[in-house]
Symmetry: C2
Subunit: 158 residues, 2 copies
């Protein structure tokens, strides 16, 4: 029996669902979906054939994007949890990236599903620090550390 | 009179020109082009309408990709220079990303050209540290620090 939750991104408000990484309304996007899985979060994604850096290996920019969106959704899930809400019960709060660090530990092969797993390391009202591990076919190939902040009101279109 | 060089990426060997960010042979890619401009390097790119994070602002994953490819090309240009070669005189050596850090200083608006400018901070045979500043319409919106390493032989397909 799966313990995974609905996807955080499916409950971002429509106005904030156009992200090229994870927006459900961005038809040119990758539509990453992040679910809670126990005390972690998980996003699974299989890169396309053209998502390469050099032939046979996944483009680092895609991995950075996966880490980025996964971390924002993890921060959102943590904010929901802190408010005593389940994913899907209310709109998912939208976070933006203050800083993103990715260590590429080994080349990431194409042709296998990637799994990004996230954990919140620190959380306050102002910022959430998320650690992300990227697995390719069960092997850790990259690690990320991301600082998420609640979306500033200056980014809301009036 | 422009002092800008030919693009580093136009001289990556064909086998290593499929990068989703900057490969000239990846028709699904962004085809970033990095040129030397005095003692800096520059990549200019205007994001598409769908390259958004939230409406009106550029997706952080695209900025990370721009910083990433720009830094690899900057490391390549520095290696050429260390060998006493001009860009285009010999194939550009291919670097891969060991680590990527991007600080998002303020939201990056869509609808203006982005300019990534790079400088090599440290360089050895083993690694090159590149600092990248991203401008949107002349305003600094992100800063990156990237460690590039020569492409390991394990990534060369035989």
């Amino acid at each position: 029996m799966s313990t995974e939750s609905p996807a955080v991104q499916d409950f971002y408000p429509d106005d904030f669902s156009h992200c090229a990484g994870c927006g459900r309304l961005n038809t040119h996007g990758r539509q990453f979906k992040t679910r809670r899985d126990g005390d972690e979060t998980v996003t699974r994604f299989t890169p396309a054939v053209h998502d390469t850096a050099v032939p046979g290996f996944v483009y680092g920019g895609l991995i950075a994007a996966l880490v980025d969106c996964h971390a924002m959704a993890t921060a959102s899930a943590a904010a929901l949890q802190a408010a005593g809400k389940e994913i899907g019960e209310v709109p998912s709060p939208r976070f933006v990236t203050a800083s993103l660090k990715v260590d590429y530990l080994k080349p990431t092969p194409v042709g296998v599903e990637l799994e990004a797993r996230g954990k919140v390391r620190e959380r306050s009202e102002r910022k959430t620090m998320v650690e992300v591990t990227v697995f390719a076919g069960g092997v850790v190939t990259a690690r990320g550390e991301v600082i998420a902040v609640p979306m500033p009101s200056a980014m809301v279109k009036h």
